[in-house]
């Protein structure tokens, strides 16, 4: 384990950005934390969550896939993907680190999504333990340890020091590249912090929410549950929950006619939208209740069924904080999971 004084945080960022591009959470003028490309003058923000999750780095909101140009009777297909260079993301919370595993299952299994894979291979994640979780946090529900973040390098902010521990080859490489400014240390301070975090996690208001009732094979049990009607009653059908969610991975592929050719791009889609998965025969989910149900069934039943029980929610709490009508996965789990849940 290595450490660096928190006063030298900017030196650390300076040093990493000398190796490759670095992104850190920084406050925008509205007081929200957003991942920002580090350069002199960009201040690190200690806020718990960024508004948009770090899934943007690997699965951006909108990306161009290819371009078509026609000349006479020939169609030319041009690969227009941007070459990705190595980059480092600092301060990824344990829940968000876990979200990459959820995305990996989707994009890296056959057929491999090369656009995603390219970005994933070039990204180095420095995670950061949560010293001050929010009331909306429930990562514990999904077996995530806020005190032991995963990622290429794990980091902890203790009194006066930032501790770093590389976990992967990529992580080792990064740490050795900046080892000049780090000092070796034992893990006493980190262990004390971890104990403190674990104590906090136990008394979080959502600490008792469990996934016991959910998982693969529960489709029939929940699909026709009468509760969906009331739960989705006031849903506006906006895409806020999906777009701030670190694990939502649905996208749409569309063509844009530039007048001189066609650009094929993909962009995030939301199952809350009326046009989601529209097919030749029309839409297969005609009411907001069905769309709403899809989102939560996907997270709590369908995804675990296909991915060895892994839930596609990591408990980051963004949807709890952002939903315009404050309807969210915790309310769904508590309603469907019976009285004992939470």
């Amino acid at each position: 384990m290595y450490r660096i004084s928190t006063q030298s945080l900017n030196t650390l960022f300076e040093e990493i950005s000398r190796v490759c591009t670095l992104y850190i959470p920084s406050e925008n003028k509205k007081g929200d934390s957003v991942y920002t490309r580090y350069e002199a003058g960009v201040e690190y923000s200690n806020k718990l969550n960024t508004v948009r999750s770090p899934k943007d780095f690997f699965f951006p909101h909108m990306e161009n896939l290819m371009e078509f140009k026609t000349e006479g009777k020939t169609v030319q297909l041009i690969d227009i993907r941007e070459e990705t260079e190595d980059f480092v993301v600092f301060g990824v919370r344990p829940c968000d680190v876990k979200s990459f595993e959820v995305l990996d299952n989707v994009f890296l299994n056959e057929p491999v999504d090369t656009y995603y894979k390219n970005r994933r291979e070039h990204g180095v994640i420095i995670s950061l333990a949560c010293n001050r979780p929010a009331e909306t946090c429930f990562c514990g529900t999904f077996g995530i340890d806020a005190a032991k973040p995963e990622g290429d390098v794990s980091a902890w902010m203790t009194e006066g020091y930032l501790h770093l521990k590389p976990n992967t080859e990529k992580g080792e490489k990064l740490v050795s590249a900046i080892s000049g400014i780090l000092e070796e240390c034992d893990d006493t301070a980190v262990t004390a912090l971890q104990e403190n975090i674990n104590n906090i996690m136990k008394k979080l208001p959502l600490a008792n929410v469990t996934t016991e009732k959910f998982g693969g094979g529960k489709t029939e049990e929940f699909f026709n549950a009468p509760e969906w009607a009331a739960l989705s009653e006031s849903c506006l059908g906006c895409g806020t929950c999906t777009f701030v969610c670190p694990t939502c991975q649905c996208y749409d592929i569309k063509d844009f006619n530039t007048g001189k050719g066609v650009i094929r791009y993909r962009c995030w889609d939301s199952c809350m939208y009326s046009e989601f998965t529209k097919m030749a025969h029309g839409n297969n989910r005609l009411s907001q209740k069905e769309r709403f149900r899809q989102r939560f069934m996907h997270k709590l039943v369908y995804y675990p069924e296909n991915n060895n029980g892994l839930f596609s929610c990591v408990g980051c709490g963004r949807c709890l904080a952002k939903c315009p009508i404050s309807m969210n996965i915790v309310k769904v789990m508590k309603t469907l999971g019976g009285k004992d849940n939470g």
């Binding site: 844009f256 530039t258 007048g259 001189k260 050719g261 650009i263």
Partner: protein
């Protein structure tokens, strides 16, 4: 030295009854106006939705002008009165967003005003040329 002078692209929405006929008259009288003015005929100036104006910019226009019958002379009695209100609000909004207000214009041109049509287009083309390329409402995908 070769000066590469960029010619601005101008989209002119002209109503079928007055302004388009005005443009015709300008042609019949051999009055010249820039070839970079592309005319799109619409049944009435009030057919022009604010989206048309924005999409013209998206597709590469540097200036958009909307021509209709003089107030009071609309073929449909009152269409251009609605146009007048809509465009006043839209232009004010574009200015509010920091988009050069000289890039948009509304002009009333009757079927008898061939000379006015040519003069208007010449003047507008000059104004837009002075502003240079439209950067604030551009869609780079359409420029390649």
């Amino acid at each position: 030295m070769q000066v590469n002078e960029r010619k601005p692209l101008i989209v002119a929405f002209c109503c079928n009854w007055c302004s388009y006929a005005g443009a015709d008259l300008a042609g019949n009288n051999r009055l010249s106006y820039p070839a970079d003015v592309k005319i799109i005929k619409v049944p009435c100036s009030c057919r022009v939705n604010p989206m048309f104006i924005l999409r013209a910019f998206q597709r590469g226009a540097d200036g958009v002008i909307l021509c209709g019958c003089h107030p009071g002379d609309c073929h449909y009695t009152s269409g251009n009165y609605y146009t007048r209100r809509r465009m006043a609000l839209l232009f004010s909004m574009l200015d509010y967003l920091g988009i050069e207000k000289e890039r948009t214009r509304v002009e009333w041109v009757s079927a008898a005003e061939g000379a006015k049509f040519a003069a208007t287009m010449n003047d507008f083309a000059q104004t837009v040329a002075a502003l240079g390329e439209n950067k604030r409402l551009e869609d780079l995908r359409c420029k390649k």
